[in-house]
C-alpha cells in the first residue's frame, strides 16, 4: 500500500470523520422527529411555506428512507469498518505477552517495600506476572478488543438492517371467524377459528386474541392462539395480532314480496347497493357501547357490547336520504324495504411478516453488548514493581485502577 492510499484510508477511518458523520446523522434524525413524515408534497408546501421546497429537496419528508440518510449511514459504515480493520494490527500487538505500556511516574508510584505483599496482591488480582528483577503483571489484555467487538456488532446490525429492508415481506390478512387464507409459497391453510377480546372487571380491554388453525399440505394440523406480544411462528412466517374491526350482519327484506333479498356481513365504512331501488346502504360504524360525544357524533365507550348500535346512512341515486342509529334487529323502513342489522361480528387483522434478518440483528445485539461490557469493564490493566515502587497503568481508568490497587494493598497489609 503506498503512502498516499494509506493516508486517504486513515482519513476515512478517522475519529474526526466518524464524529462529523454521527453529528450529521443525529441532526438528520432530529429533524425527522420534528417534521411530520410521509404526508405528501402539498402538505409541506402549505404548512411550511418558504421552507417547504427545502424540506422536499432534502427529502426531510421521508427522512429515514431518503437517499441522503442512506448515504450518511453507508459512509458511517465504511468509516466504522475501516477503523476496525486498521486498528486490529495494533490491538493484536497489545494483546501479546511482551507488551507493556509506558508506566507514568507522575504521582502514580505506590511505595511498598515488602515484595511478598506485592506478589500476594498480584496473585489476588489474578495478574499474569512475568520478570524477575522488575515484576510486571497484566490482566485483561484481550479487553483491548472491546471497541472492535462493539464496532463489529454495529456493522452486523447495519448488515441485518439492509437485509431486512431488501428481503423482508409484510402483508395484512383480515379474517372473520371461519375465514381461510392459503399461503401458497409456504403450503399451508390458515383458518380463523375465533377472534375475541378479554376485559377486566372495570370493563377495560385486556387483550385481543385470535385462535387459528393451520392445516399444512404435509398433513400437519395445529391450533394456536396469538395475541399482542405473542406472535405465532410458522414456516418462516410470523403472525402478529395487529388490529381488529367490526362487521354488521345486514338483512334486507322486500316487504311486498315478503322475501329476504340480501343477507351478509358488512364491514364498517363499507356499503351495500340495492340495485332495484338504486339504494346504497352504508354502514357508517358499529358502536358496541354507544354514547354521544362532542358535536353529536356517536362514539363507543368501550369495546364491550353493553349498548350496541349501528350507525347507518342511506343514499338513493347517489344523494343522501337519511341517517340512523339503530339497535340490533331494529328495522329501518324505506319504501318497500326493511333494513336491519341483526348482530355484529368482530374480524381480526393479522400482520404476516417474513424477515430473514431476525437472527442477524439479534446476533448484532449480543455482540454490541458484549463489546461494550468488555470495553468498559474488562479493559487492560498493567502493574510493575521494582525497587519498592509499585506502578499502575490503565489507559481507560487509571485513577480508579490505582485506587483499587492501593485499597487492596492496604487490606493485605492489615491482614498480614
Amino acid at each position: 500500500m503506498n503512502k498516499k492510499t494509506k493516508k486517504v484510508l486513515n482519513f476515512i477511518a478517522s475519529l474526526k470523520v466518524a464524529v462529523v458523520l454521527l453529528i450529521l446523522i443525529a441532526l438528520y434524525i432530529v429533524i425527522g422527529t420534528l417534521i411530520p413524515q410521509h404526508s405528501g408534497p402539498q402538505f409541506y408546501l402549505d404548512r411550511y411555506e418558504t421552507l417547504g421546497p427545502t424540506i422536499l429537496a432534502l427529502s426531510l419528508d421521508k427522512a429515514y428512507s431518503s437517499l441522503i440518510f442512506i448515504i450518511l449511514v453507508i459512509l458511517f459504515t465504511i468509516n466504522l469498518t475501516l477503523c476496525t480493520v486498521l486498528s486490529l494490527k495494533s490491538q493484536f500487538k497489545q494483546m501479546s505477552d511482551d507488551y507493556y505500556p509506558p508506566f507514568n511516574e507522575k504521582g502514580e508510584v505506590i511505595e511498598e517495600k515488602d515484595e511478598k505483599i506485592v506478589r500476594a496482591l498480584f496473585k489476588k488480582r489474578h495478574f499474569k506476572v512475568s520478570g524477575d528483577k522488575e515484576l510486571k503483571g497484566a490482566k485483561f489484555r484481550w479487553g483491548v478488543l472491546g471497541a472492535t467487538i462493539t464496532h463489529i456488532g454495529l456493522i452486523i446490525l447495519f448488515l441485518g438492517g439492509t437485509i431486512g429492508n431488501l428481503k423482508s415481506d409484510e402483508r395484512n390478512v383480515t379474517l372473520l371467524p371461519t375465514n381461510q387464507h392459503y399461503f401458497e409459497e409456504e403450503g399451508f391453510l390458515l383458518t380463523l377459528e375465533e377472534f375475541y377480546m378479554t376485559f377486566d372487571d372495570d370493563g377495560e380491554l385486556k387483550q385481543y386474541i385470535s385462535r387459528v388453525n393451520i392445516k399444512d399440505d404435509d398433513g400437519t394440523t395445529l391450533t394456536k392462539e396469538l395475541w399482542v406480544n405473542k406472535p405465532l411462528h410458522y414456516k418462516g412466517l410470523k403472525f402478529y395480532q395487529a388490529n381488529f374491526g367490526w362487521t354488521g350482519n345486514l338483512r334486507v327484506v322486500d316487504t311486498d314480496k315478503q322475501e329476504i333479498i340480501a343477507e351478509g356481513l358488512l364491514r364498517g365504512g363499507r356499503s351495500y347497493f340495492v340495485e332495484d331501488a338504486h339504494l346504497t346502504i352504508l354502514l357508517y360504524g358499529y358502536y358496541p357501547d354507544l354514547a354521544i360525544g362532542h358535536g353529536q357524533q356517536p362514539v363507543t365507550l368501550t369495546n364491550q357490547e353493553n349498548n350496541p348500535h349501528f350507525a347507518v346512512v342511506l343514499y338513493q341515486f347517489g344523494q343522501p336520504v337519511d341517517s340512523y342509529i339503530i339497535a340490533p334487529n331494529q328495522a329501518i323502513c324505506f319504501e318497500n324495504y326493511n333494513i336491519t342489522f341483526t348482530h355484529a361480528v368482530a374480524y381480526t387483522g393479522l400482520l404476516v411478516r417474513s424477515d430473514p434478518s431476525y437472527p442477524i440483528v439479534l446476533t448484532s445485539f449480543i455482540v454490541i453488548l458484549l463489546g461494550m461490557f468488555v470495553s468498559f469493564y474488562c479493559y487492560p490493566r498493567f502493574v510493575s514493581y521494582e525497587d519498592g515502587k509499585l506502578r499502575t497503568c490503565s489507559r481507560r481508568n487509571q485513577w480508579v485502577f490505582r485506587q483499587s490497587i492501593v485499597s487492596d494493598l492496604n487490606r493485605l497489609k492489615k491482614k498480614d
Binding site: 475519529l15 466518524a18 464524529v19 454521527l22 453529528i23 446523522i25 443525529a26 434524525i29 432530529v30 425527522g32 422527529t33 420534528l34 413524515q37 427522512a63 429515514y64 438492517g161 431486512g164 409484510e170 377486566d200 372495570d202 377495560e204 380491554l205 385486556k206 387483550q207 385481543y208 395475541w227 399482542v228 406480544n229 405473542k230 406472535p231 410470523k238 402478529y240 395480532q241 395487529a242 400482520l351 411478516r353 424477515d355 431476525y358 440483528v361 439479534l362 445485539f365 454490541i368 453488548l369 461494550m372 461490557f373 468498559f376 489507559r395 481507560r396 481508568n397 485513577w399 480508579v400
Partner: protein, 270 residues
C-alpha cells in the same frame, strides 16, 4: 389502602429529600462539615420511604410501576437517588448530594404533578419486557443524572481556589462523571436493544423511527461521541463536563419533551 400508603410515604420521602438537599448544600458551602452524616441518613430514610411508595404502587396496581408518566417519574427519581447512594457507599463523596438531590426533588415534584390514577396496561404493554426495558431505563437515566451533577461540580470547582473546591481533586470528579456515564451508556444500550426486541415481538419490527426511540438513539449518539473523544482524543475536564450536561438535557427531552411535544407510540406513558 395501598393508595394511601403510597401517598403518605411519597410525601415523607419528598420531605426527607428536601432535608437532605438542604443539609448537603450546607456541607458544600462549608458552613458546617458535621451535617454530612445527617444528610446521608435523611437520604437513606427518604429512599426507604420512596421504595415503600413504589412497593405500595406495585401491590395496588398489581404490576411494576413503569407504565405512565407519573410512575416513570417516581421510578426515575428513585433511580437518581439509588445511583447517588451507590456512589456514596463506594467513594464517600457526600458533597455530590448537593447537586444530585435537587435533581431527584425536581423529578419527584414532576411526578407529583402527574395523574396518579392506576390504569390497566394496554395490550402492547403486557409483557415481561416492560420490567426489563423500563427497569434499565431507570438505572440509565439515574446514572446520567448523577453524571451531570458531578460534571456540574467539576465546572464549579474549575473556577474556584483549592480551599473552596467542592471535591478536593477535580480529576476525581472528572473521572467519576466518566465512570458513571459509562454505566449509564451501557444501560441505555440495553434499554434500546430490549425495546427493539420487544417492539419486534409486539409490532413485528425492531425499529420504527418512533420519536421516543429516535431520541433515545440521539442520546446514545451524544454519549457515544463523548466516550470516543475522551478515550481517543483525551477530551477531559470542561469539554467532557459539558458533554455530560448536554447528554442529560437530551435524556430529559427524551423523557418529558417527546411525551409532551411529539406524537409517539410511546404516548401511553403520558
Amino acid at each position: 389502602m395501598y393508595q394511601n400508603i403510597e401517598n403518605i410515604t411519597f410525601t415523607i420521602a419528598f420531605f426527607f429529600y428536601i432535608v437532605a438537599a438542604i443539609s448537603y448544600l450546607v456541607l458544600v458551602t462549608k458552613l458546617s462539615g458535621k451535617v454530612e452524616k445527617g444528610a446521608t441518613w435523611a437520604t437513606i430514610a427518604g429512599f426507604a420511604f420512596h421504595t415503600v411508595a413504589m412497593i405500595a404502587r406495585t401491590i395496588g396496581s398489581q404490576r411494576v410501576p413503569f407504565s405512565n408518566q407519573y410512575e416513570f417519574a417516581l421510578s426515575f427519581a428513585w433511580g437518581i437517588i439509588l445511583s447517588f447512594l451507590v456512589l456514596y457507599m463506594i467513594y464517600r463523596f457526600g458533597a455530590i448530594g448537593a447537586f444530585v438531590m435537587p435533581l431527584g426533588i425536581l423529578v419527584m415534584g414532576y411526578a407529583a404533578m402527574q395523574n396518579k390514577t392506576v390504569r390497566p396496561l394496554m395490550p402492547a404493554l403486557q409483557s415481561l419486557w416492560l420490567t426489563f426495558h423500563v427497569g434499565t431505563a431507570i438505572l440509565s437515566y439515574g446514572a446520567f443524572a448523577l453524571s451531570a451533577a458531578i460534571a456540574t461540580i467539576y465546572l464549579v470547582d474549575s473556577k474556584r481556589t483549592s480551599e473552596r473546591k467542592i471535591l478536593e481533586d477535580p480529576v476525581v470528579s472528572d473521572i467519576l462523571a466518566y465512570r458513571v456515564t459509562v454505566f449509564g451508556l451501557l444501560m441505555l444500550t440495553i434499554v434500546i436493544i430490549s425495546g427493539a426486541i420487544w417492539a419486534q415481538k409486539a409490532w413485528s419490527r425492531y425499529w420504527a423511527w418512533d420519536p421516543k426511540e429516535t431520541w433515545s438513539l440521539i442520546t446514545w449518539i451524544i454519549y457515544a461521541i463523548y466516550i470516543h473523544l475522551r478515550l481517543r482524543k483525551n477530551w477531559k475536564g470542561k469539554m467532557a463536563a459539558w458533554f455530560s450536561i448536554v447528554g442529560f438535557v437530551s435524556v430529559l427531552f427524551t423523557f418529558v419533551g417527546v411525551n409532551v411535544l411529539l406524537p409517539s407510540i410511546h404516548s401511553y406513558v403520558s
